[in-house]
């Protein structure tokens, strides 16, 4: 059969039910095979949308997301999505068309060295040289994308090779000599970690997106509840430990809660699980958790002692390690009152510094109120995506995520414009769920074109634009650190008219600027059948607080 038909067989064998992409010359054969392959193809309007949608699908379902693009500009349009996926460890496979082999290296029409361009931002990439390698390469790509620390894998297929006739035989396992992720965790180290936890007076569990990737939320919760361990989850880890909860401290870091940051600051033992000590979490690294010893559990050995030296490193899969750690810990039968003093201190912070904002006294919609209203309207149980900026932080702060894979955003790369395509991918992967995108009025314009995809493909995402008329987060920094010199951040208008724009795309457009009307508008939007765009006019110059100014220690939070 043709190699492209074999690709379809491989995709089906990998359980792929939907792919996102856009055709062109170099991947015409792929699209010909796709025509009647029985795999749903979502035709995006820009390849960046396909890349992020594949990631959204993966984040929401835990399965590998797939995006297709043609050579040259099609492939380069995927670059931001690939970089985003590598930073946030999203299992994705990108299959690009490439010019015919005879044109390779000649600057042929629509030739771009996409494996070269993406080399620093992929987990792995493969350039096909022999059509007979195609099926194995596809399976290897899925295997690498999904296992260990997940990430994006690129497969670049020259057009002529993709049409070649090959002998296809199903492949049921792959083995790569240089790729053997460690999963189990060293028993002695786990035991030592249990002992350290038992002897700590001021412990804290610092949980990252790795726990969600591992599917280890239940196991994490069991560890947390095996004693009264305080828990904080990073931006990527929100939902790994169900909020709200008595042991929940909120998010740590730049816009985290004071309680989470102060708890880490005074901790004598930080148990990091699937987290990577990002600078947005640690603030000034040399003053991060200055009194603490560190347990670091991660499936990627290179994360351990990269930023913070780990006293007890444990390499492996959180889902496998955490039950062993819990069992070891339970066997130590620690004194339950041991943490009383610590909790007293933590409760003190919680009472003194709750997340709070001053609500308007008139009809103005405060952005924080908007998120609280959304939480109410969705019963706290939607899949929520966001773009990047102030609105993202407010969702993270004010929407209590009770379950994993409900909060999809761009943490590592901070990519504006992911909200709509993430939501699109999530809605395709989880058709039973309510999928909501909280967009920034700036970010939303970076992938607005995907509204057409949502309408045409009947993907019923509900977009709530937090419209403050500014590139808000940048404006906030200019206000606080650049003398209020608002340089190129005013996008307040009057363009675009979101209601008309939604209407032009065939989506339902609504606008609301009165606090009293907001809940009703939200309910209407959520109940509507197709895609909806709600232009929510909020306070223009509200700041996201609290905040650790960049490069400062966590205890110097402001606001």
């Amino acid at each position: 059969m043709r190699a492209v038909d074999a690709i379809m067989e491989c995709l089906k064998a990998e359980g792929v039910d939907a792919v996102f992409g856009l055709p062109g010359g170099a991947n015409l054969p792929t699209y010909d095979a796709l025509y009647d392959a029985g795999i749903r193809h979502i035709l995006v309007r820009h390849e960046q949308g396909a890349g992020h949608a594949a990631a959204g699908y993966a984040k929401a379902t835990g399965r590998v997301g797939v995006a297709l693009a043609t050579s040259g500009p099609g492939a380069t349009n995927l670059v931001t999505a690939i970089a985003d996926a590598v930073m946030d460890s999203v299992p994705t496979v990108f299959i690009t068309g490439q010019v015919r082999t005879e044109l390779l290296g000649t600057d042929g029409f629509q030739e771009a060295d996409i494996s070269g361009i993406t080399m620093p931002i992929v987990k792995h990439s493969m350039m096909i040289h022999d059509p007979r390698d195609i099926p194995r390469s596809i399976h290897e790509a899925f295997h690498i994308a999904r296992t260990g620390r997940p990430g994006p894998v690129l497969v670049d297929v020259p057009q002529d090779l993709s049409r070649a006739d090959i002998n296809y035989e199903p492949i049921d396992s792959v083995s790569l000599p240089g790729y053997k992720p460690t999963t189990e965790g060293n028993v002695k180290q786990i035991r030592l970690a249990a002992k350290a936890l038992a002897n700590a007076r001021r412990p804290v569990l610092y949980v990252g997106g790795g726990v969600i990737n591992a599917g280890g939320s239940k196991e994490l919760t069991e560890l947390a509840l095996s004693d009264r361990f305080p828990v904080t989850c990073t931006l990527m880890g929100l939902g790994a430990f169900g909020a709200p909860h008595d042991q929940w401290l909120g998010m740590p870091g730049m816009h985290g809660t004071r309680t989470a940051n102060y708890t880490i600051d005074e901790a004598d033992l930080v148990c990091a699980i699937g987290a990577r000590f990002d600078d947005r979490v640690t603030g000034k690294l040399s003053e991060f958790a200055p009194r603490a010893k560190f347990i670091h559990i991660d499936v990627d050995p290179a994360e351990i002692s990269k930023n913070v030296p780990a006293h007890i490193p444990i390499v492996g899969d959180a889902k496998r390690i955490l039950p062993k750690l819990t069992r070891e810990y339970r066997a130590l039968e620690t004194d339950p009152t041991r943490l009383d003093g610590w909790w007293q201190r933590i409760r003190g912070w919680q009472e003194k510094y709750p997340l709070a904002y001053v609500d308007s006294e008139d009809s103005e919609i405060k952005p924080q109120y908007m998120i609280e209203a959304l939480y109410e309207a969705t019963g706290g149980d939607a899949i929520v995506t966001s773009d990047v900026g102030q609105h993202q932080m407010w969702v993270a702060q004010y929407y209590d995520f009770a379950k994993p894979r409900r909060w999809l955003n761009s943490g590592g790369l901070g990519t504006m414009g992911v909200g709509l395509p993430f939501a699109m991918g999530a809605a395709v992967g989880c058709p039973e769920e309510t999928v909501v995108c909280v967009a920034g009025d700036g970010s939303m314009q970076m992938n607005t074109q995907e509204l057409a995809t949502c309408v045409d493909e009947r993907i019923p995402v509900k977009v709530f634009i937090m419209n403050n008329g500014y590139l808000g987060m940048v404006r906030q920094w200019q206000e606080l650190f650049w003398d209020r010199r608002y340089s190129s951040v005013d996008i307040g208008g009057p363009s675009p008219d979101w209601v008309k724009l939604a209407d032009a795309y065939g989506a339902l457009g609504m606008r609301v600027s009165d606090k009293a009307e907001l809940p009703e508008v939200m309910r209407t939007a959520l109940a509507a059948e197709g895609p909806v765009v709600v232009d929510v006019r909020v306070t223009k110059e509200e700041n996201t607080y609290p905040m650790i100014p960049a490069g400062q220690p966590a205890r110097d939070m402001v606001g």
Binding site: P120, G178, K195, P301, K324, R330, A331
Partner: protein, 184 residues
């Protein structure tokens, strides 16, 4: 995993960070799959993580599907554990050995093109002898010498002949194997 441990006092103050080794020059012997672009991946990784490669040598091994990259890095500048762990993340990297200097034989080949007239030629050839080098080309106004050895030896030779006028120097970068019967 056997019986759980019993409660024992562990003073958190006693916990130390394991594996923090003192900085020195490291020779990494890396087996990679012999596939297009693999060297670019290794070199690109060093560039983007800000690790400095001191020397780099690439060549085939006894297995045609596998190549060996030997590279030296200054461990005082870069934590060597980070370097090797990041390298391990490259799917085409099969095996990495951080060779212990005492248990390793390392060699490098260098070619020196030195200005030489009738007077200085004899002296240069004498140094070459002392360093067990070989004269491989002679012209009216130059001598070209081949020297093999550790990088110390090559640098020592370079110091000796520099005063004569070093026209050019070409070095391969070190290659190394472990001492004894065991495979590197």
């Amino acid at each position: 995993m056997g019986e759980p441990a019993t409660q024992e006092i562990l003073d958190l103050r006693d916990l130390q960070v394991p594996g923090a080794r003192p900085g020195r020059r490291h020779i990494l012997s890396i087996l990679v799959e012999n596939k297009p672009g693999v060297l670019a991946r290794v070199a690109g990784l060093f560039a983007r993580r800000g690790f400095n490669i001191a020397t780099l040598a690439v060549g085939p091994t006894d297995d045609s599907t596998v190549s060996r990259v030997t590279l030296t890095v200054d461990g005082a500048v870069h934590p060597i554990d980070q370097v090797t762990k990041q390298l391990h993340k490259l799917v085409n990297v099969i095996k990495i050995r951080d060779l212990e200097p005492d248990e390793t034989v390392a060699r490098e080949l260098a070619l020196f093109k030195i200005s030489a007239d009738a007077d200085s030629r004899a002296q240069i050839m004498q140094f070459t002898d002392i360093f067990r080098g070989k004269v491989i080309d002679v012209s009216k106004r130059s001598v070209t010498v081949e020297v093999t050895g550790t990088d110390d030896k090559i640098e020592a030779f370079e110091r000796m002949i520099r005063p004569f006028g070093l026209i050019e120097m070409v070095r391969t970068g070190e290659i190394a194997v472990s001492r004894g019967r065991a495979v590197t």
